[in-house]
Point group: C2
Chain length 180, copies 2
């Protein structure tokens, strides 16, 4: 999994794919499924919505670290499985055969099977709205991975897979950050 | 454009499509393109990221109202056009041939050409992160519209169109809100 310039990390989140978020609570790793994410600016700052109803939340709140991993459509049933059980009861990495790789800046693990990973620190938690503000410190992309299509949760139990890509870089060139 | 139950409004935002946001500043209407959105819970509460760099922001801040409209892929060049010019200079509705319909709860207009619209009030602005918290008061869906595929901005000038839909309602039934 090669490094991706941090300046491009927001392009992993902006299209709105469902993501996996790993944490480490000092004793063990955990992973949760998150669909509620948002880019905050053209750097590696973004937000996720989560709260005490997720077992991972305590680890996120206390360790102030996580990894945001981007799964693809071939992992959909894993993503749903991770999202419908609790790390309080089981080791989700073993249960769903997810391979952990060591991150550089955080204790939460990178997920080898995912298309991309972003090592993040928790900048702030806007508790009133359960918004966790993250800053990325390193990003990785597995560009050799054959399947690159991500999945968008609708919220009603259905998921939209990425379709074709339309290029409008020329129309937008004045509005794109340098190097993107 | 028929009413959509407010309880389903979050399913318009959760997949992460690029949206149009209309405002009314007391004198005139305006519209902007927003890709940075996030669901906040299973009701009609969600967040968008915007700030003073957008001309519409003042209207949003002062009127505390807007309409979030969901365009489809046939409107992509309109969406990009709206996003790359300023309402300070031109009437974007005239320029891009967007038809305004009167909303019920807000003075900002509904956009007839869009697949869906959500009338919103501004609940709060988390100025530190430029996060505008919205609450939906009415939602509409044009289910007779032939084109229903939305578009996801990558942030680099490319856009991903909705592909196929995968149904996992059965696996997720214990986690879905009632009636969704």
């Amino acid at each position: 999994m090669e490094s991706l310039p941090l300046s491009k990390a927001f392009t992993l989140i902006e299209p709105g794919p469902v993501v996996l978020v790993t944490t480490h609570d000092g004793r063990k790793d955990n992973v949760m499924t998150i669909s509620w994410t948002m880019v905050l600016d053209f750097t590696a700052n973004f937000a996720i919505t989560t709260g005490p109803w997720n077992y991972s939340y305590t680890a996120l709140e206390e360790s102030r670290e996580c990894v945001v991993a981007i799964p693809t459509v071939d992992l959909l049933d894993t993503v749903i499985g991770v999202g419908t059980c609790s790390g309080a009861d089981i080791d989700k990495f073993a249960q769903f055969k997810l391979t952990r790789l060591k991150a550089r800046h955080v204790r939460a693990p990178i997920i080898k099977e995912c298309l991309a990973n972003i090592e993040c620190k928790v900048v702030d938690i806007v508790t009133r709205y359960n918004i966790v503000v993250l800053e990325g410190f390193a990003a990785y992309l597995d560009s050799a991975r054959p399947e690159k299509k991500t999945v968008h949760a609708v919220g009603d139990g259905t998921f939209i897979v990425d379709g074709r890509t339309i290029n409008r870089r020329e129309m937008m060139q004045d509005r794109l950050p340098n190097g993107i």
